[in-house]
Amino acid sequence: MVVKTAEQLAGEQREISVAEFFEKNRHLLGFDNATKALLIAVKEMVDNSLDACQEAGILPDIKIKLKIISEDRVKVTVEDNGPGIVKEQIPRIFGKLLYGSKFYKMQQGRGQQGIGVSAALLYAQLTTGKPTLVISRTAKNKPAYQIILRMDTVKNEPHVIMESKYEKRFADRGTYVEMEIEGKYRKGERSVDEYVKETAISNPFAKITYHVNGDKITYPRIINKLPKDPKPIKPHPHGVEMGVFERMSKMTKSKTTAGFLVKDFCRVSLGKANSVLKLAKVRPNTKPKNLTHKEVESIWRNLQKTKIMNPPTNCLSPIGENVLEKAVEKDLKTEFTAAITRPPSVYRGMPFQIEVCIGYGGELSPNSPAQIMRFANRVPLLYQASAGAIQKEIQKISWGQYHVERSGNMPYGPYVIIVHMASVWIPYTSESKEAIDPYEEISKEIRLAIQDCARKLKKYLAGQKRRHLEAKRKGLFEKYIPEIAESLSYLSEENKAAILKSLQSMLKKEKIEGEDDEDSGETEETGEEANK
């Protein structure tokens, strides 16, 4: 047995780069299996495109293409009409993990971490060995560039294989990304098809064209207006964990602790800061860098105990009731649609807003459980439905009360239930970001919104039932009327056609009365006598 010294062991130990880490733990990014991996790759690329367009104020026009090469290999391309990427930036955006502008911002956005499209590139490289192709152009008067690149996983740095002007025809502006990955294309729930359909609903300002081999589906743009830009906000003291709070105290640019509290957080006035610091027994003009761990903790505790005004909510950008209704009507071809956008609310110092839309009838299948679509900041959540707040709340609703049939715990029939949560910070139950943590405040808002829509649905269904019954009744009389005219004509010895005409004109006007069978307690006697 070879005994190694501590020095030898230390020599073997080295820093592992983020890229190397994810190479070994790719499930943490959602690439657990070939089916899900395809979905995640498309999702990261599309999110990137939508974000770019929205930031640049451009109405997105996105083309998604899947070319199925073999059972478990797919070529994915996504092309947008976004602002394009300057040539120098391309390698870092696509070839370096955790490179992004959003990581420290409290802002409603699609991704919450810098891991995005570069993770897809890494996955492609790991599974097929093929590099990724990016073509981008920033303006009509500028050339398009093409770059073929890989990631150096040890250094977490991009490695450009080829870079040149792109000479073939290319759009005036936009970005094209092509990668080949190990992936399985499937239909149905949790498929790329479903993801694209749902993305079209939550981003109705985008035109999305979706190709799978030869088949093409187009989701037209439903509104010609981009949503208002979500504004970044400073963290609210009640939404910051102790560790983060301590790190912020070390990184702040403020010279005093009071200044740190006022400038780095929202809703903290100087008076409020001073009273918190007094409780924490810390002098307001202490340099934040000089605070001891104990002092930081004491400030944090006292902040949590102090009543602080709720964070501003103008930082949220919901889809909007009317827009959501329109999108569902057009994309899902529903007969009835009702949406509600709840007023903003706050959980753990984080502003959030819930939107719900219920669709009924039309092209929805009557013989299956209701479709549930969950969204967080406009991104469809396709996995782990049962773990999240949305499904839990849907199950708790007494659907019967709204004339909706149920099967097991879920509503059943031609229904779609859409729930969207917009927030500067979505509390996911796990790293794969697929289910929303059922905070009491969030669950309550979801419940109220569903109930509100369900009430509208109930009204519609009741009306529909009444109209249906009315039509059925009229139909019944239409059948009877010729027989009645015949008998009446025979009895009265009057013209049959005239009788028929007056009965038919009555049927048009008459509101038909009567619910169920006539009361006929008639006699208590046995039937025998009636025959005699």
Partner: protein, 357 residues
Amino acid sequence: MKTQEKLKKLGKKLTSEAKKGKNPNLDIPTRSLSNVVYDKKAGMVKMGTSSSKRYLFNVAHIKKFVQTLEVASTAKELLKVNKHLNLREVYYRVKRTLPGTNINIVDEQTETNKAIEDLELITGVPREQLHINADKEGVAAGKVIILDKGDTINWSKLGSGGWSVPSNVENIKFKKVNAKFIIYLEKMATWERLHEDKIWEKLDCIIIASRGQATRGIRRLLQRLSTEHKLPIYVLVDGDPWGIYIYSVLKYGSISLAHMAETLVIPKAKYLGLSADDVTKYGLEKHLIRFKDVDVKRIKQIRTYDWFKDDKEWQKQFDRWKKLGGKVELAALTSRGISFISDTYIPEKIKKKDWLD
């Protein structure tokens, strides 16, 4: 007014309502327990005054409305061609499916039966006059000569079968009635027993029988004999609630035919037997057939009828039946001898006036 005219008038009323844009409707006296009263003075169940409207344009009414209309035009057709149909035949005449639907005008005969009764109430014309008959099931014998459709018939000269009572006896003429009373029997077999024994000759009576409840034809025949020839009628039935109910309908009438009480009810009918006392008097205890739950329930119902509830004799009877705990059939009298009923039971009971009124 002639019956045909009455039907035409009904049609005209409905037609003119439709032409005026008024929902055509039929006003039908309510045939339910709540709308009949026992007229103590007249001794019969009579119709009250409440009625209900049946509308054409009403989902709950339409079916019955059409049934009544169909029955009315069937009746009109029958009157026109001067022919008769029985209840079952009327049912088939009306029964059909609406074109292009699975809706039947009628599903069961009970529906046309009711529609016919409704038509009687609306027009005030009994169904016999609408040319609708029930199945005939009655037989008569005695020293009676009648005239029926031009034929002279002697009830004493019809062999073992007797005269078969038609469903409509309205046009029968009694030429000669030589009898002191009438015995009505609920069993054909008992009638044959009495007929074979020539009881009508020995006791100067008429014997008439039907099966179970008397048909309207029989009731009308009994009533006419009772009123036109002042003959007492003795009812002889099984000793059980169903027998007592047959007697009750004959004497006081019934809810479903309350509207025809005047022409059907026989206030002079008397209950000859079998009574609870007969069981002990004639030693029939060993022939008791234990009451079922429904029998006990029925006795409880019947004893509360307006005409029984204050009658001490009848209440005593009901108590005795309850105590006996079983019923006795007329046929049980045969245990005392083949002709015991004709030779002993009936003469003795009538002589001793041993009946219930």
